[in-house]
């Protein structure tokens, strides 16, 4: 893999072998060298990053700070005080947030050093980062391939070794899918585990912030720093207490019950991915895990359910972009005209498409047929998982049906693009934690194994992923675009 892990960097800084400045400088050099082609960053602020590093090296962060001196990147829908935040949309092209997201504040308080903001699908709507209004991010494993989305910039930056970790957000797979496409670890925590305050809202009942890292253990370290109840987000979970996600991570899988899905929808599933996931399951079974079959009878309806609920919530959330208080304003003689022109000039086509689907699904006469039925199906999908987790600790399946596709391959066919999310969407509908861990390569492109667990049981996911990382034996391939070892 390219670059050092969070754990290695922390150990080195804590032992006084290196300083934060060394790692931040290394990260900035790697960005300088590689990101011209990779295009994973929308904004890099070398001066601010080095200043922060120096402050930490001069003793500002405590010895015990969870991420003391470690460089990182944030997806550009996580607002940062005084640092332009665009959600990759023209409508927020010049937006300078007056406050920072709780997750950003927590990383800062933990002694982390932000080097920049990463590219994404506009307002996190997309599965390829192609809907960004500003640039297309390449897949580190092949310049003609997409990095996945919507957190494609964060995934590509970590996989290429530009930063040891980055935050993304996951509404229907936007952390797990790009992690699978780029060959890094991606964790979507339980809904409510991490505060959404300052995350530019796409679909509020589905959105969740989480880390991209090289290893499961690194994700545990980052999650320790960002989790917890936040009075500024009433949906963040209370009573999380003091949790250490690294504790017990190396307990192994002996005796753990691994669920595999009987009659998993396999239409369009690449046989190489199916084989790699089966191999990973065999590996865990040989290490002492017990494999049990579970049923998820309503999984086939997940995509239809999601593509009504998410656009409905988005159409409501994005009503705030009206050219009045912030964001782009178009010249117009009257206020209604100003709303319409500002929004039409400011939003890209995918965002408009989803606003229109959502508005339609919520409109009088169609509400019962679309939105309400989708909410009812959401109940059945949730109950499927409740039942399944009575018999197992984790459920394993592919993260995606295919490896990374080429630029433009699905851009003209929105439905085809949406169907790619079949395996990741259910976790958002049910609020479950889920991760993607690299489990092989096909045609030179990475494959992701998805691990799901019951709500607030990220520990089981991290334990299985960590065990698998020690056991996996496929030949690791190096990215075409990435830092030298």
């Amino acid at each position: 893999m390219s670059g050092k892990t969070v754990k290695e960097i922390l150990t080195s800084i804590r032992q006084g072998e290196t300083k934060s400045r060394d790692w931040v400088q290394q990260s900035l050099s790697a960005i300088e060298q590689i990101d011209g082609e990779l295009k994973s960053f929308l904004l890099v602020d070398p001066e601010a990053a080095l200043q922060t590093a120096d402050r930490i090296d001069n003793g500002q962060a405590s010895e015990r700070a969870l991420l003391r001196g470690v460089p990182y990147a944030l997806k550009d829908n996580i607002v940062t005080k005084g640092v332009r935040t665009t959600a990759a949309s023209r409508i927020l092209e010049n937006y300078i947030p007056p406050y920072s997201a709780t997750s950003a504040q927590k990383l800062e308080a933990a002694g982390g050093v932000m080097v920049g903001k990463t590219n994404m699908d506009e307002f996190a709507m997309g599965s390829s980062t192609e809907t960004s209004a500003f640039q297309k991010t390449a897949n580190p494993y092949g310049k003609e391939y997409v990095p996945g989305g919507s957190s494609g910039g964060s995934a590509a930056a970590v996989a290429a070794g530009l930063v040891p970790f980055a935050l993304g957000s996951d509404t229907g797979g936007s952390i797990r899918q790009p992690a699978a496409f780029c060959g890094c670890f991606g964790l979507k925590p339980t809904y409510g585990r991490v505060s959404r305050y300052g995350l530019i809202a796409f679909a509020s009942s589905l959105d969740q912030i989480g880390p991209f890292t090289r290893t499961a253990e690194d994700a545990a370290i980052v999650l320790n720093a960002i989790c917890g109840h936040d009075p500024m987000d009433s949906t963040s979970a209370r009573g999380q207490g003091e949790i250490d996600f690294t504790e017990g991570i190396d307990a192994g899988v002996k005796g753990m019950r691994i669920g595999i899905v009987r009659n998993l929808p396999e239409e369009g599933l690449d046989p190489a991915i199916k084989a790699a996931v089966e191999e990973a399951i065999r590996t865990l079974e040989q290490a002492g895990a017990q494999v049990v079959e579970v049923e998820l009878p309503h999984m086939e309806y997940a995509v239809a359910t999601y593509y009504l609920i998410a656009p409905a919530e988005a159409s409501s959330n994005l009503a705030r972009f009206d050219g009045v208080r912030y964001g782009r304003r178009a010249e117009a003689s009257g206020v209604i005209d100003m709303f319409e022109r500002s929004r039409s000039e400011g939003f890209g086509m995918e965002v408009k498409r989803r606003i229109i689907i959502g508005t339609y699904a919520l409109s009088s006469g169609y509400y019962d047929a679309y939105y309400k039925r989708a909410q009812q199906m959401r109940t059945l999908i949730r109950q499927d998982y409740d039942r399944a987790f009575a018999h197992c600790d984790v459920i394993l399946m592919p993260t995606t049906p295919t490896t990374a596709f080429k630029f433009g391959e699905k851009a003209d066919n929105p439905l085809q693009m949406y169907l790619n999310d079949i395996y990741t969407i259910p976790a958002n509908l049910a609020g479950l934690p889920g991760a993607s861990v690299p489990c092989g390569f096909a045609g030179g492109l990475p494959i992701g194994l998805q691990i799901l667990a019951k709500p607030f049981d990220e520990k089981s996911i991290l334990r299985v992923a960590h065990a698998y990382e020690q056991l996996r034996s496929f030949a690791w391939q190096r990215p075409v675009l990435g830092v030298a070892e």
């Binding site: 300078i96 007056p98 809904y191 409510g192 009942s205 009075p231 009433s234 949906t235 309806y301 995509v303 239809a304 359910t305 593509y307 009504l308 159409s315 009503a319 009206d322 050219g323 009045v324 208080r325 912030y326 964001g327 782009r328 304003r329 117009a332 003689s333 009257g334 206020v335 209604i336 005209d337 100003m338 709303f339 319409e340 929004r343 039409s344 939003f347 408009k352 498409r353 606003i355 229109i356 689907i357 508005t359 339609y360 409109s363 679309y370 309400k372 039925r373 989708a374 909410q375 009812q376 199906m377 959401r378 109940t379 059945l380 949730r382 929105p414 439905l415 049910a430 609020g431 709500p455």
Partner: protein, 100 residues
């Protein structure tokens, strides 16, 4: 469900989006495909199933009714496209036309 360019135009207006005719023509068949796909939910027996609006049971959270510092006005207005006398300025709402 066949969606026409007229329907898209109507819904776009509801969402305060002004769409050029070529966009409407492109969107109509795409929305038809997506809604046709979503129609599989009509085939499932869902009578009596409680709708889920949120993954977990949520209750309203109220804070104590105590005055606390809020975002300073200059910061709140810093991103406004146009501001005047400590307030956001917008084009005419009642006179000057441009109505819906």
């Amino acid at each position: 469900m066949k969606i026409t360019a007229e329907t898209v135009s109507h819904v776009a207006r509801l969402a305060r989006l002004a769409m050029p005719p070529e966009d409407l023509r492109q969107l109509a068949p795409q929305l038809s495909d997506i809604l046709e796909y979503a129609e599989q939910l009509q085939q499932v027996q869902l009578d009596g199933v409680e709708p889920t609006s949120h993954p977990f049971h949520e209750v309203n959270v109220l804070r104590d009714d105590v005055v606390r510092p809020s975002l300073p006005r200059d910061l709140a207005l810093a991103n406004a496209p146009e501001a005047e006398a400590g307030q956001v300025r917008v084009p005419a709402v009642l006179e000057g036309g441009g109505g819906a």
